[in-house]
Symmetry: C2
Subunit: 579 residues, 2 copies
């Protein structure tokens, strides 16, 4: 008999079900999930893979008293379904009521806002330590998978947690995949453990002091419940290794795990995408150009830290790149250090990475690369307001984070031609570490010859009285504002700075005679490009207005609104200069 | 017969020695090293522990063709002695000719400028990948110890390197110590390996695909040479675990490994320090205050990432703090995440950390702490110009790195009384993540009541025409400059902002009527506090001059000279305002 899903208000409502009812519940949850995912898109494979594990988790443990921390937390849809948010999964009009990640603003069952990988074990270890100091007895559980375990923060946590000498449970959801295929010796070891049904010699978890439990069918409720019960209330560290099927229940997702890690709306029967996005994008432009360059020069190496798709390296392109393509796994720190080593060895590394994830490697960018003056190239994606609008994936911070590291050259191309020219410049020079920021928004082309003298600003039009300095993908806003002013009979200077880390003092000195300068940048103004200009011109008579995003964590925002709220529409910019 | 040490110009000069000569060489090197260390100070224990290992390394491998990457690289004194720099160790007038770390500017035998831990394996992996692409056959060796292996970047590298499927050699120098005692399950495992003479089950290195070789006496040349030879030219990943004695040959250092990790000049016979530093310091003030607070409130937890001494937590104090003191090992990422978990659990974490090492945790500060709005407290040390003058340990970057993270409150107290008041404020509030920057330079006291309304600037003296805003330990320079101006009959405003992350717009608006404002901050100006002020006032008539350090990597600098070069003497500041 079917379960009335709307009756599930909290995990308490599944505690009295028997195994066949739990099995029925899992089937129903999966069916609803597939319906929503096919209509709405989302993290398909990760969630379908853990339907049974999540049901078992809430059946055996008593959240929120027991503390469950989900790593990366894109696999928590079923968790949300079981913790008072079922309507967001079964009622299309409520589909957008929930975020795609755990969210304490939504529910007390969600402990942390999490979107980056590899944080759960150390976060949970902090909760466990706090519990121990208070004399509490609740279980603390870290639920980790999708290759998050290989990240440095996860490994540090894995090392630390057993030293607490108290209850601590890690559930390792081994679906044999990262976003794409797994990389790293650890995953060879997990395979060895799977193939030996958990009995392989040299068990890394046992080496670190964990009691190790293996569940060969991580989609089998009975085995999961048994394993979780065996760990519950343990007075020591336990790791439960569950072997799950990513995308379980959706043949297309089972067959093509990479495509269905995260997908837009699709046909539930065939798996075919409902919207075929044929518009040109920078990711594609990047990868095609890289392949061409790599074909011509065997020294060029493309690197990713577990997100090949996000930088345009589809399986075909990875194959074409061969040994010149390196995926270090979700290990941004090692990725940057490997790039430093490659540069030292005479190769020409180009590390493509999401703007939000490069945050993991601040110290490596500074120490391993910049202090050593190594000409490694970094290309970041989804930076700025047109990046990913989720609070945990914002790309607003790369300008302050990287442009203030000595030696680094931070380049912000305004269009596709500049982008490729700067990429070429960065690869071909050997004097500087370089970050090239991939523009956001629709691809823009220019007929204007690209000026690659990247230590000088590009003065696109000379003028008088006022100047607009539009950086990167905000150059378009600057150009439109200039056009508005021109129509009003003014002659604004229009400048494309390109370089956001070194000031062009010759150009800036020439602006001192103007009345007003406005800077625009696609990132928070705090610590950014415009503030450098304002400070440089601070002792002169020219007024400087620095425009950009406010220093804040936005969530699921609308880019158009954010631009307007920050006086960043062409009209608003023109108005500021008309005053 | 003694070896003529001055004849050793390169490792080639030891290749033809026999074992007894190598033994003699090691003894002589150790004796010279002890002489220099006792007169000059330095990393005592780490270097004395690896005399034989370094001799064996250069005896078996052929640097610089073979590529040796030293982790953290404070243990490379003997390496320097054997690679053309012997005079810096045997001639007192040349003692300062070399840095305390590997330094490519000094020698082609040094591959990277390194001072932070845990980088060697991933850096070496990059070199190995580059070699593989070029078809080279040289050995690539990562030499890692002093608890660097537990850091996330090292673990990521350890995971990645075997996937290269080629020659890769890790020498794990296990001296059973971090700077202080080791923490982490990994070190329990290393003890298990030592106690079983390398035969323990569940060997973590074998689990990751390394061939594992154990050397029970890591100070025995014969065993070391045999092990290194066994690994040389391997076509796969090998890890050689050598059990060494930290401080070997100096009884005081063998007995008190923590004190002699790094020491100033000492009596070679007794180990007693030659300079007894009895002046008050902030580290001591911090730790004493923390112990008092922790005694009163069991929820307060002090955390360190492997540097308890650097935050004043001597062994006695650690004992007194008991369970309220947590050392996560050299794992700043996990440290920050554990702090986040503790705060979530209701504890009051205070993570003490060097300004240079907090760089490892940018993403955790942003994601695990700030996005979650958790009131974890961070206290950084050796920030600013009076911090550590080594290129790899500069503390110039914490203001731009942390003050630009949304939600974070970055506090820069100017004196001891403010420091403790801000620490109390940070611990007692539950609304914000807070970074308190420990002042540099000699301890300063004030009679002035401390104003803990930390979202308002403290206007220390009202004035007219000009204002000086002196942040943190540069407030003293600002005050002296104001005094010079007062003697000239001027009435400068003097402001102590304390908060470097949120602007006091009420105060700043009141400055718009002035002629000129100067900001001073003890860090690079790029991305810092003054540039925020300059931008905020950019559209007004007041001129703003932002003073601070230039964005550059200095090495072994003189703080007085750096201040002068950046117009930061009181006289220079006063002059800027007299114009």
């Amino acid at each position: 008999m079917k379960i009335d899903l709307t009756s599930i208000k909290s995990p308490r409502d599944i505690k009295n079900l028997d195994l066949s009812q739990l099995t029925m519940l899992s089937e129903q949850l999966r069916a609803e999930l597939m319906k929503k995912l096919s209509a709405h898109g989302g993290h398909v494979g990760p969630n379908l893979g853990v339907v049974e594990a999540t049901v078992a988790l809430h059946y055996v443990f008593d959240a929120p008293t027991d503390r469950i921390v989900f790593d990366v937390s894109h696999q928590t849809y079923v968790h949300k379904m079981l913790t008072g948010r079922i309507s967001a999964f079964i009622s299309p009009e409520h589909y957008n009521d929930v975020t795609g990640y755990t969210c304490p603003r939504e529910s007390g069952y969600d402990l942390f806002e999490v979107g980056h990988t590899s944080t759960s074990i150390a976060l949970a270890a902090g909760l466990a330590k706090s519990r121990n100091l208070e004399g509490g007895k609740e279980n603390v559980v870290a639920f980790i998978g999708d290759a998050s375990l290989g990240g440095g923060e996860a490994l540090e946590g894995l090392d630390f947690a057993p030293t607490l000498g108290s209850n601590f449970i890690v559930i390792l959801n081994d679906n044999q995949m990262s976003i794409a295929e797994n990389h790293g010796a650890l995953y060879d070891h997990l395979r060895e453990l799977r193939e030996s049904n958990g009995t392989a010699h040299n068990n890394i978890f046992r080496a670190l002091g964990y009691r190790y439990i293996y569940v060969s069918d991580g989609n089998d409720l009975h085995s999961l419940i048994e394993a979780f019960r065996a760990a519950r209330n343990a007075d020591h560290a336990v790791l439960i290794h569950i072997n799950t099927l990513k995308g379980a229940g959706l043949p297309a997702a089972e067959a093509d795990k990479e495509t269905f890690h995260y997908a837009g709306p699709f046909d539930l029967k065939t798996g075919a995408p409902l919207q075929d996005d044929l518009t040109e994008d920078y990711t594609d432009i990047f990868a095609r150009h890289m392949l061409t360059r790599m074909g011509e020069d065997r020294r060029i190496v493309a690197l990713t830290a577990g997100t090949p798709g996000a930088i345009g390296f589809t399986p075909d392109r990875r194959k074409a790149a061969g040994k010149q393509f390196v995926d270090v796994g979700i290990c941004e720190q090692a990725g940057v250090a490997v790039a430093a080593g490659l540069a030292k060895g005479g190769s020409r590394p180009v590390f493509g990475v999401m703007a939000t994830f490069i945050q993991r490697s601040y110290d490596q960018l500074s120490q391993d690369v910049a202090i050593n003056g190594l000409p490694a190239v970094f290309v970041d994606f989804a930076g700025g307001v047109w990046g990913i609008p989720d609070m945990t994936h914002l790309g607003f911070f790369d300008i302050p984070m990287i442009s203030n590291i000595p030696e680094f050259v931070f380049l912000a191309p305004a269009n596709a031609e500049e982008y490729l020219a700067m990429l070429d410049w960065a690869i071909d020079q050997t004097d500087h570490p370089v970050l090239v920021r991939t523009p956001g928004g629709p691809v823009v082309h220019t007929d204007r010859p690209v000026n690659t003298d990247i230590f000088r600003y590009d003065i696109v039009s000379e003028g008088e009285d006022v100047a607009i300095i539009g950086a990167g993908d905000f150059f378009g806003i600057a150009a439109e504002a200039a056009e508005i002013l021109r129509k009003k009979g003014k002659k604004p200077m229009l400048i494309n700075p390109r370089n956001l880390s070194q000031l062009d003092t010759v150009c800036l000195d020439s602006l001192k005679k103007l009345r007003k300068v406005v800077t625009l940048e696609d990132g928070i103004t705090d610590g950014g490009f415009g503030q450098k200009i304002a400070a440089y011109l601070g002792d002169s008579d020219v007024k400087v207005i620095t425009l950009g995003l406010k220093k804040e964590f936005l969530d699921r925002y609308n880019a158009t609104e954010v631009l307007r709220d920050n006086s960043l529409t062409p009209g608003q910019v023109a108005n500021l200069l008309s005053e």
